[in-house]
Symmetry: C2
Subunit: 334 residues, 2 copies
């Protein structure tokens, strides 16, 4: 072995950088960045806390869309085309349910159905969601820690011009058509962070807010966790807790989903700047796409450090590259 | 039109014979004969009352094995090889449930799963089993009437040397290994025949007891219906109610399932004669296989009319032929 150069000058490959990261993730965008982080960080250094505000009961089954998207993505089981569900999926159950006159609006593949059936069975037996998630991750060969934000029910309600809609009713059944007036998270005041979430945050070097929808993916998690984030002494173990957000809005548009439409309907021009403003006071580091570089000065003025990077994750390499950029960005001071 | 010959001498093709039939059916054997009868009788002339003593909850789903076997068979959707489940089936859900550590002992195909999921959903919404069955039959293109024996829960319990076992636990999970000591049908005293069952019997010319397991397929139905059968005035509308049983035991063996084993464990030599003795007092006509013709005199001595026929239904033609033989046999007097 060659003698190591001094710490100051050596280029350390990322794999040897021990950063303890907590990632907050919703569905597709969150899952992709979580996957990128998982390719770089050791299992014990990455905890992914996932939104469960979208969870709902359908066909008698407990469905946790974001949790499944994150797990399927980490396990390499995700459908790369749809952003939800399993790859190499079949649709024999749902098509037969439709033939029998049952509801077919929520597309459930046969493999995906197994997740919901077995999870529902275990919940009825008294296991909690975080325990089940841990078991499922083990079965799927996921070594990093995935935690639902809470074992208690928190339900995202979209307040629209057509009345209050449960999230999946708004999102899937109504295809995000009703005009958004606001959001609330039923049960959030009674919800405790799931076991391990608080501890992971307390020993984290940084929290990465993934490029998920701030309104309905990240806000529910923050609402449940906020107390424990604020509780953490900063600076802690000699360095402050960095909180890095990656904008899910690129060039004024959401990569996927209704985030941009939501901003507009709430009277806000959708942009990376709008996202940064939403996170102002919480976030220390902000990552925006190259296409939005002209917004950098304004984001800086919100008292955030900024990074302009390629944030559109089209390939697995893109995920890893963005994760690498984010990890390099952590701890930097201008 | 030619003038009709006198009733006594004309050979009427079966399709013009209006016999109102109620068939009592369990699983495979019952489903096959019901299918044969359905090929001959007009929809309004055949009502199939199906055992629900085998029904159970599994994976949070309400499963009604005999009802499904009968319906799938009538609809041409049944798996011809297994005797249960659907043809051209896939197994993606159950194999993934097993990967997650869930119970895989009850084989549920993806198409079959749709039946259980949609039925469970509707039951939770407050629909009753007979209503759901009627809707499903319509969706599957079944024109004859299929009625579960009761909308109330009746559960067959197999009393064994290893204790009391719920039927599917005994039948599928334990592969009929425990030694049978007896049977009971929990809930039978409180169970009402499902809507339409009583009326069908009251207007029937004959009741056909299909070649299903007398202990656990036919007895539960008889227990629920007995009152209404006995209530029917005989002779009724000028002719007596015929009750025809077809032996499920051929050459001392059950075509499928544990019937023969059950007879032996209860100290009875399994044979068509043993079946006839079980039905003595109720049944007026008894059909046994050609291989058992030597038993005919003894069965006759039980005060039953007898028919020796080919009862092994290997092909759809066999089903139709046996149905034809059974219908021709009805009303005959020696």
């Amino acid at each position: 072995m060659k003698p190591m150069k001094s710490k100051e000058t050596v280029h350390r490959p990322l794999s040897t950088v021990r950063q303890k990261i907590v990632a907050l993730a919703g569905g597709v965008g969150g899952a992709k960045l979580a996957h990128g982080l998982a390719q770089i960080l050791a299992p014990e250094d990455l905890t992914i806390i996932v939104n469960t505000g979208d969870d709902f009961e359908h066909l008698g089954l407990y469905i946790s869309p974001d949790l499944d998207t994150v797990c399927y993505t980490l396990a390499g089981l995700a459908n790369p085309d749809t952003g939800w569900g399993r790859v190499d999926e079949t649709w024999n159950a749902i098509s037969n349910i439709e033939k029998l006159g049952g509801p077919g609006w929520f597309h459930l593949g046969d493999q995906d159905l197994a997740t919901h059936i077995e999870r529902t069975r275990r919940l009825k037996e008294g296991q909690c969601l975080s325990e089940i998630t841990r078991d499922f991750c083990k079965a799927w060969g996921i070594h990093h820690t995935v935690i639902p934000m809470s074992d208690n029910p928190v339900r995202t309600i979209v307040e629209t011009d057509e009345g209050d809609l449960a999230f999946q009713e708004y999102f899937v059944h109504r295809r995000c058509e009703p005009r958004v007036k606001g959001f609330r998270f039923d049960g959030v005041n009674e919800a405790e962070p799931a076991p391990g979430a608080r501890e992971a945050i307390q020993s984290a070097d940084a929290i990465v807010i993934c490029p998920s929808n701030p309104w309905v993916s990240i806000n529910p998690i923050l609402s449940v966790l906020q107390f424990s984030i604020l509780q953490r002494p900063a600076p802690f173990q000699g360095h402050p807790l960095s909180i890095i957000a990656i904008s899910p809005i690129i060039g004024g548009q959401a990569v996927k989903g209704p985030a941009a439409k939501m901003y507009r309907e709430l009277g806000i021009e959708p942009s990376a700047l709008a996202v940064a403003k939403q996170y102002q006071g919480l976030v220390t580091h902000f990552v925006m796409d190259k296409i939005d570089s002209q917004l950098e000065p304004e984001v800086k003025s919100l008292n955030m450090q900024t990074l302009v990077a390629g944030t559109l994750m089209k390939t697995p390499d893109d995920r890893r590259q963005l994760a690498e950029d984010v990890l390099n960005f952590i701890g930097t001071e201008q």
